[in-house]
Amino acid sequence: MTANNLKSLQKILKSLSRDDLPYIFETWECLSNADIPTLVDELNVNLHRPRLRPNVNDGLRDISNLTSITLIEEGATKKKIVELICEACKIHGIHKKDLADLDLLSTQLHPERKRWIVYEIITNEDSNTEIKDPEVLCEKFGAQLSLLISHDLCMRMHNRAIWFRVGLKSRSKTGQGNAVFIVFHPHSPYFITTPIRQKAKEVIFQALIDMLQADDIQECPLSDKDLGSLQEMTLMKNAQGSFSKYRFNQVHTNPLVKTRGKKRKGSILDDLNIHIENENGKDDHRRQELTTDVFGSNPQPKLLKLEYKMRTQLRGRELAPSEEPFRCVVKFEGTNVIEGIKKLSQTGLASLPLPGHLANVHSMAKNRFLLTDKKES
C-alpha cells in the first residue's frame, strides 16, 4: 500500500463519526471479510490488551462481529480504532478500489457534506431502454466511460438508488478530491451529482447519454446540500404541499367523495376561555387555512438557499426612473427555507396569498428562479 493510499484512508476514516463505525465494519468489504478484522483484533490484543482471546476458531463471521463490537463496546476512542484499522490495512494491503468503495460509503453516510446538483435526462419516448439490473448498468457505464477517459468506477445500492463513484485521474497527488458521485433513480428521468469540472462533465455526460440512449442531459435549476430533500422535490414533485397528506397516508376517506363536514364539537378548552375572545381570530384562522392549503401540514423539504434573479421593472415608486428592468438578486437563506416561508405566512409577516414562485417552491423542483415581466403583446 502506498503512502498516498494510507493518507487517504486515514482522511476518510477520520471524517467519519464514531457511530458510523459499526456500519462501516459491516458493509465495507475489507472489514466484513475476516482478514483485516482479525489483524485489527490481534494488533489490539498485542498492543493494548495483553489477555487471552477466547475461541479463535469460531468461524470467520464471528470474529468480524467480535472485533467491531468488542472494540466499540469497550469504549475505545475513534482515534484508536482508526489507528488499528490503518495499521492492519498497512500489513494486509488494500487496493485502490477498496478505498474508492469506502469513500462511497462515507458519502452515503454523510451526503450533507457535499453540494448536489440535479440533472434531467431527456429521451424520446420510443427509445425507452430501461436497465433494471444495477450490476449491468454499472458494467455498461464503465464500458462507455473507458472509451473516453481513464477512470475507476464503483457502485453501490443505497436507499433504492444506484450510487456511482467515478474516480478521475487528477494532478493532485491524493487523488481523492477529484471523485464524482452520481446518484441514479431507476424509473425516473432525474439523477443527482456532486459538482463536476467542465471537462470531465462533458465526458461523463457523453457516456451517460450513450448508455441510456438518451437525447440530452439538462441541468435543473436545483442544487443544495440536503440530498434527501432534493430527491423528494424531484421524484415526488406532485405530492408536495397539501398533497403530502396523501403521500403519508394521512387521509382515510376517499378524497373524491364529497362528505358533509361534521359540526365541530367544542372542546373543554373552549368552555374555559369562553369569555376571552381573540379579536383577530377570524384573520388568524383564515391565515392558517390559506397556509395549510399551500404548504400542507407535513414538514417541508429542506433547502438552505433560494435564489431569485429579477429582471423586472421597478415597482417601488410611482414613476420608475427608467424603462429598463431593475436588476437585482434576492436570496433567502437559512436551515430550512421553505419551512421558514411557511412560518412567515403563518405569523402574518407576509401578505396572503403568497405569489406562486414563493408558495410552490416545494413542487417546482427548482431553487433558482428568474423573474421577468410578462410581455405585453
Binding site: M310, L314, F326, C328, V330, F332, K343, T347, L349, S351
Partner: protein, 354 residues
Amino acid sequence: MAGPASTPDLPISGSRHQHSTGIYTSWNGRKRRYTPYTKTPKSRKLKGKHLEKRVSSESQEADDIPLKKFVNKTWYVYQVTPLYRFKQDKASLKRYSRHLSSYLQSEAQKGIGVGGIEDDLGARALFQILPGLVDETGNAEGIEITVSQKENGRNGNKVTLTAILSSVGCRELTEMEGLPNDFERFPVLLAKGLVAPMRQTIVWLESQFDCRIRRMSFNPMLLSWMVAMWTGLYSEPMLKPVELRYTVPATLQGLSYITMTIQQEDACKLWKSIHNGDTEEVLNEEVAEFLQALETHFFHHFKIHLSAMTLNRIATPLAFVGKEGRLKILMTKGVRTVLYHLTELSLENTGLTA
C-alpha cells in the same frame, strides 16, 4: 423627528451649546448623551465628492499607496472619547511605543493572556503616524499602532494587532467648539487582530489617556443612511453591487436571512431619481424614500414585509458594514469618505458635537 428634544433652544444642554452653528442646527446630539440611542439628524452632508477633489488636487497616487492599508480588510470599529495629553511628536510616539510594549509584556507575565506565557513574551508595540492621512495644516489624522510578537523558532515577527486611530474630518466637524487644552480628538479606532492584545491595548489607551473606548454598533437606521449616501457616490462601470441583508426574527425557525443584491447602476439610477444631485446635503426623507422604494419593490414580488425584519448588514461599492461594528472598505478612494462618516457618528454618540 420633530420631538421636543430637537428644538435648539432647550436649556438642558451645556453652555457650549450656544456656540454651535454647525451643519446640524436642527439637531443636537448632546441632549441625549446619556441614553444609549442617538437620534439621526434630518440631513447629512455627502462627503465623498469634495473630499475626493481635495485628494486629487494633491498628488493622488502618492496618497493612495498608504491608504491601501485600509482596503479589503475587515476592521472592528471603536469609538473613542478625547485623549488627554496625547502628543503627536516623534519622541512622544516613541515613548508610547515603549510604554505599551512593557505593559503588554507585564500582562503576559501575569498569565492572563489567552496563549501560553512564552508566546506572549516579547510583544512589541509601535506607534507611528500614518502617511496619507494628513490634513491641510500638516497635522496627522491617523496614528497607527501595531503590536507584533516574536514567533517561536523563527526570526520574523508576527503582527498580532493593527489599530488605527483616526480623526479624519474631526477639525471640520467640531470647528466651533474648542476643547480644553491638553485634549486631542481621535474619535475613531479601527482595529483588527487577536483578541488578547486588542483588549490589553484598549485598556492601556484608556488608562494612559483617560478616555473611554467602546465598540461601535450600527443600528438599521444608520445602516440605511450609509446605503443611501454611498450608493450613488461614484458612477463607473464594474462597481461592486449594493446589498441589503435583513435578519428574520429569531422565533421563525428555518429562515435566517433575506438578502437583496442590486446592480450598482440600477441602484444609482433609483437614488438619483430621489436625490437632487446638485446638493451635497442628503435629507432624512430621501433616505427613507430610497429604502421604502426598495422594500416596496420587494413586497410587490414576494408579498413579504421587509419592514418587519431587521437590516443587519449592508454593502455598497464603497464599503461593507455590519450591524455589530464590522467594516470592510472596498475602494481606496472611499477611505476618507468612510472615515469621515465614522468620525461624525462617533462624535454624535459620545455627544461631543453640537
